[in-house]
């Protein structure tokens, strides 16, 4: 260990006297650690060994034992470690860990709540969608039913109207045919007299003498009878 401390060694190689003159033994370290250099002879020097052990337990100077292995500082460190760590443990147990933990738990609870609420809302919206679709299907089938009914009614109406008009037309046709038949028979009945008159005229014109009405009628009826 002591090969690390060559610089300081030169100054402290002489057996250092006890407490009162720290400034002369190690000027550089003096402002920071005056009491510590008090019993600080280099233990590399056998001559100083006796002084070292007598002078005391704060032998933490540069020439002293390697600081982490210096038993004289152990008691102090243990006491303060116990106090400070106990303080930290108490603070942690009473204040700090519950504080941080509660924040994390709060957040986890909040997230779980939010997820639950979102789940509920989703279920509600699903139900709403289902009922909407049901209503839509119902309305659609109803509208189809109404349309079919209306078509049926319209068809029936059309058929009835058509039947009525056809019947009317049929009646008119029948009446017209009857009238035509009458006119035809009447016309046919008149054909004989017209032919007789015409034939009498023709004969009168051609022969200059009016033929007998009976002869003409006989001739006409004979011609018609053919």
């Amino acid at each position: 260990m002591s090969f690390f401390v060559t610089e300081a060694l030169a100054q402290e190689s002489a057996p250092a006297p006890a407490a009162p003159a720290p400034d002369t033994t190690a000027p550089q370290t003096a402002p920071i650690e005056p009491p510590l250099d008090a019993g600080a002879p280099a233990d590399a020097h056998g001559a100083a060994e006796a002084t070292h052990s007598e002078v005391g337990h704060e032998a933490a100077g540069h020439g002293g034992p390697f600081p982490p292995f210096d038993p004289s500082t152990f008691a102090s460190q243990l006491v303060w470690l116990a106090i400070s760590f106990a303080l930290l443990y108490l603070l942690m147990k009473r204040v700090l860990a519950p504080r941080v933990g509660s924040i994390i738990e709060e957040r986890a609870g909040r997230i779980a709540d939010d997820i639950g609420r979102a789940e509920r809302l989703r279920e509600q919206s699903d139900a709403a969608i289902a009922s909407y679709e049901k209503a839509l299907a119902e309305a659609r089938s109803q509208s189809q039913r109404i349309a079919a009914e209306a078509t049926e009614a319209a068809k029936a109406e059309v058929a009835a109207e058509r039947a009525r008009i056809e019947a009317q037309l049929g009646a008119q046709l029948a009446a017209a045919e009857v009238r035509i038949g009458e006119i035809k028979s009447r016309a046919l009945a008149e054909v004989g007299s017209i032919a007789e008159e015409t034939a009498a005229e023709i004969v009168a014109t051609l022969s200059g003498s009016a033929p007998q009405r009976d002869e003409v009628a006989g001739a006409v009826s004979a011609a018609l009878g053919k």
Binding site: T29, T73, S76, F85, L87, L91
Partner: protein, 250 residues
Amino acid sequence: MANDPIHQFQIQKLFTVADVGGVEIAFTNSALFMFLTVGAVAAFLYFSTAGRALVPSRWQSAAELSYEMVANMLRDGAGKEGMRFFPFVFSLFMFVLFANLFGMVPYFFTVTSHIIVTFALAILVIGTVVIYGVMHHGTHFLGLFVPKGVPLAVLPLVSAIEVISFLSRPISLSVRLFANMLAGHITLKVFAGFVGSLGALGALGIGGAILPLAMVVGLTALEFLVAFLQAYVFAILTCMYLNDALHPGH
């Protein structure tokens, strides 16, 4: 003194408090930094969570992250019953972490670079394990040293190994942390010393000092990693040892 890499580990007495049977109890720089560490941990956890925000700020996020990291570590390592030790493990982790990080500040004292401090913490852990284990499991706690499924012929040997391994735990736990902090700080100081002494040699020296300077920069980053990692390792080993106290059956 400037280039003495050991100087940073000196215990410096600030004032004497008591003298118990010839043993002087003094308030030292080490004690000062222990309280600074405790104060910093408490202030960090207290003030960062002052907002109690649903969406955390950066500081609150850091506090919650460290809380949850240790909580998960303990739950994974020692099960649900292990959560009763949470304040203890979280205190240990934060104390070691902050002490290590304080050590990274120039001119600050590194509390964890003293074997007595890390050894006391390790003994605290093992003591908790033994006391809790014996209190809750009685002689069954000794089952820890008798692994199941081992042939009777080799059982004495295995048990002896288990006992030695158990006894070496506080030593390995404390020496790991102590040696890491000590070696890292010495290395940093030695390389930084090279920069100073080479730089004093003139132009050539300044050129040559660039290499150790780069080393110091890299080592500083490494030491920050080590500071965190050692606190993490200390906490996770604590969790594993506590698991033995809770479930000594295996």
